[in-house]
Amino acid sequence: MTGVLYPLKESPSQTAGPYVHIGLTPNFCGIEGVYETDLGTAMVSDKTKGERITLEGRVFDGGGNLVKDALVEIWQADADGIYHAKATPEFSGWGRAPADAETGLFRFDTVKPGRVPFPDSRLQAPHLNLWIVARGINLGLNTRIYFEDEAEANTADPVLARIEHRDRVATLIAKGGGGRYSHDIYLQGAQETIFFDI
């Protein structure tokens, strides 16, 4: 009888639709002068502590087509593994990026996050939390991005350890090193990315 204990239901989701950029990145789609800048475009400054990284990625549908209208947000800890709700001049743990209308690439310039404890106090491997919306996606998709060059931490990560089908773990791991990573997301099909029910 959860209906009695908790009187309200979460508002049901509806797709972000094809014009999500008007609302979330208006300058990107040519609506200038309403907001000074689009939110979430700058995560780091020259004062930011930690290893600078650039992450580029694309989103593909089940037919192998680029999802050029996707919008991606990330939420991450700082280099010390601390989440900061409020952005400071040094660092914002939250970023928002629209896919490029031609290439489909989204890009984040940030720092590699530190390790964050799991509730049982084991340390999670460095990771970015992603939320993906687009036309045709009825409820925003949650996934994570880990890093190829953190193999030891990845092996000990409690979330990755939970994944039953081991061949799918690779769908959560960005390729690269030396501060440059790439990561494609597959909404459907043989290479389908792992999405989480968080």
């Binding site: 979460e10 049901p12 639709g17």
Partner: protein, 246 residues
């Protein structure tokens, strides 16, 4: 604010039968954009229970006024002037204060200011179509706009979107992140729309249908519509100076 030292407790699991399923073939674009493998579930960690917070210093004076925020000096957007107001609540009915609410919409003719929208209806030179605000201590939010028009869209041979406003809402945790749409009471296009119908339960559709609220209207200026937004609740609330919920 939220940090590693003050996590809130786990969110209630999402009721995925209340939300639309990922694959809803009558909304054709979902067919290739819907994951087909089961979602992987795990209990919330700090990565899910924390989230970004935005201060009021972000907001410009016209951010919550779509009638004026794109208009030339002395001009205003064309259309039926309305106020949209409500509260951001959680599933326990508690106000969710201090969260960023963003909204976007078509103009009064049903046309978006977007290069991919080629609908016959004209652009309004004084209407951009985006706005934002931050919920108050009691979860309340409000903005002024014009009522958007309905419009046809390429899906079935003659599908029309009911008049609607898109909402993007942050909570206190990234797992509460939500995008949805608000519809208008009495619109006969609501039950005909394939996107609305991705939602199975009529009560859930009703939850997205704003009600005319004469008491909140501005006489001789604007009608008002009330639209409450509900985010996921959590199993326990962190009281100040208590390290763990409960």
């Amino acid at each position: 604010m939220t940090s590693n030292r003050a996590p809130i407790a786990n969110f209630f699991p999402r009721d995925r039968s209340w939300h639309p399923k990922a694959l809803t073939p009558d909304y054709k674009t979902s067919v290739l954009r819907s994951p087909s493998r089961p979602l992987v579930a795990f209990g919330n960690s700090l990565s899910e229970t924390t989230g970004p917070a935005f201060g009021h210093d972000l907001l410009g004076p016209l951010d919550n006024d779509l009638v004026l925020n794109f208009a030339q000096a002395g001009m205003s957007a064309i259309g039926e002037r309305i106020i949209v107001e409500g509260r951001v609540l959680d599933e326990r009915g508690q106000p969710v204060s201090g969260v960023l609410v963003e909204f976007w919409q078509a103009n009064a003719g049903g046309r978006y200011r977007h290069k991919k929208d080629g609908y016959l209806a004209p652009l309004d030179p004084n209407f951009g179509g985006c706005g934002r605000t931050i919920s108050g201590e009691d979860g309340a939010y409000a903005f002024r706009t014009i009522r958007p028009g309905p419009y046809p869209w390429p899906n079935g041979p003659n599908d029309w979107r009911p008049a609607h406003i898109h909402f993007s809402v942050f909570g206190h945790g990234f797992a509460q992140r939500l995008i949805t749409q608000m519809y208008f009471e009495g619109d006969p296009l609501i039950p005909r729309c394939p996107i609305v119908r991705t939602i199975n339960d009529p009560r859930a559709i009703d939850q997205l249908t704003a009600r005319l609220d004469m008491n909140a209207s501005a006489p001789m200026d604007a009608l008002a519509y009330r639209f409450d937004i509900v985010l996921r609740g959590s199993r326990s609330t962190l009281f100040e100076n208590r390290m763990e919920g409960n």
